[in-house]
């Protein structure tokens, strides 16, 4: 079923103080596909996502990318290869053009326009002040900012949870296109049906444990059955 393995979690546990966030999670996240990570809040979904670009480190167990443990990669190179889009858009600069150059200082204008087009925003946005963007536009700029670095994989932490329908659909389209071009996407989402519609694979977490994984239609998790 899985053609190419992207990420592998091998007996991964994460503890924060007295709280066990993830307990011995072993899973595969296929490459060139969108994988949904679903489960009730507090299940450890965001932590799992943040393990994949080393914003979190497992207490025990290990995470591999393309068969190599993550610590073997230069961490900055890894993070350029594995982009992350957070739940709430965090803009870092004054205008959109500067925003797209945060991770890619050499980004030329026509490349910036291309990147904006991938998230469904036109060229006029390049000169817009970031303070004047709507929530949906800001999130799309954050996604474009991640895409500007040319990542092989995208980690998305509930990217559409706070957005209107238009922006949510635009972001889902961007993810679908990214995967169609051979990219690996990992999508944490509460919007179950939406996440599963664009995903070819899913992990179900509950209380820090992996309870199910497989194609979205084959799962027992409430609301995931086809």
């Amino acid at each position: 079923m899985i053609a190419v393995v992207g990420f592998v979690l091998d007996q991964v546990s994460v503890r924060k103080g007295a709280v066990q966030i993830l307990s011995e999670v072993s899973a595969q996240i296929p490459a060139a596909m969108c994988t949904a990570v679903v489960g009730p809040s507090g299940a450890g979904k965001s932590t799992l996502l943040r393990l994949l670009n080393r914003l979190e480190e497992p207490d025990t167990g290990r995470v591999l990318l393309d068969g190599t443990p993550l610590p073997a990669y230069d961490v900055r190179a890894l993070r350029r290869r594995v982009g992350l889009v957070a739940q709430r858009p965090t803009l870092l600069t004054e205008d959109v053009a500067a925003e797209l150059r945060v991770g890619r200082p050499d980004l030329v204008r026509h490349r910036a326009v291309e990147v904006l087009a991938r998230v469904g925003l036109d060229e006029s946005f390049l000169d817009r002040a970031t303070s004047g963007l709507s929530g949906g536009e800001a999130q799309r700029v954050c996604l474009a900012r991640a895409l500007a670095v040319d990542p092989q994989a995208l980690l998305l932490d509930e990217p559409t949870s706070a957005l209107d329908g238009v922006s949510a659909r635009a972001i889902n389209r961007t993810i679908t296109d990214f995967v169609a071009d051979g990219g690996t996407a990992v999508l944490v989402s509460h919007h179950l049906d939406q996440a599963l519609r664009i995903s070819g694979f899913a992990l179900v977490l509950r209380a820090g444990r992996l309870v199910e994984c497989g194609e979205p239609g084959s799962l027992d998790y409430p609301g995931t059955a086809a």
Binding site: L55, R80, L84, L92, V102
Partner: protein, 256 residues
Amino acid sequence: MTAPAVPGWPGVAASAALVAVAALAAARARLAMSRELVVAAVRAAVQLVAVGAVLAALFAHGGLPGAAGWIAVMVVVAGQVAARRARGLPRARGVATLAVAAGTAGTLATLTSLAVIDLRPHVLVPVGGMVVSTAMQATALTLARLRDEAAACRPAIEARLSLGLSARAAFAPHTGRAVRTALIPSVDATKVVGLISLPGAMTGLILAGVDPVTAIRYQIVVMYMLLAAAALAAFTAARLADAVLFDDAERLRDLR
């Protein structure tokens, strides 16, 4: 009657009348502060007499090693005090002490190597005291601000890290803000010196009978050295903060 340039012991004793006036006034106003006032006044006298005795002994017998030791003790104490303002920052004590030490050492080394001040205990100790306290203030402000920025701006910092920026680059905007904030008191004090405040060193020299035009020479040196001490300490604190706020994998540590 002409009084001496520096009051004698009888003069000091007479000045206690001022404490009595303040205590009486407090008693009349039923502030219930008279006792506290008197205790504070006695305490100040005891502390200063003790320091005076220690300094006299230090100047007479300690020599340069004694002066250096005295300054080192001040640096350690200042490091503890500054670290208290940065609670939650990992290894705050070490960072604060190093920052105060860097501000102090850099400033004093420059002053002595350029022969601006004498390499003698009775010069080094009071000048060192001014330098250490300024470095302490700048360090405390820098570290407190950096800790607050790291806690409040985690999403922005992690967004930059996620784009492949180094920890230092991801934290640089916050470092800049912290250092700027920390230097405001020193820069402002330098701007208004002589206009709003007649600072201590100059006041002391004038009281001791030195011509004001001569006294300001010392004050100019003092202002410059305090600027340098604050800047060196703030920059060192900010540099070291990068190292303690982020781990080897360039992750922002949890602050508690």
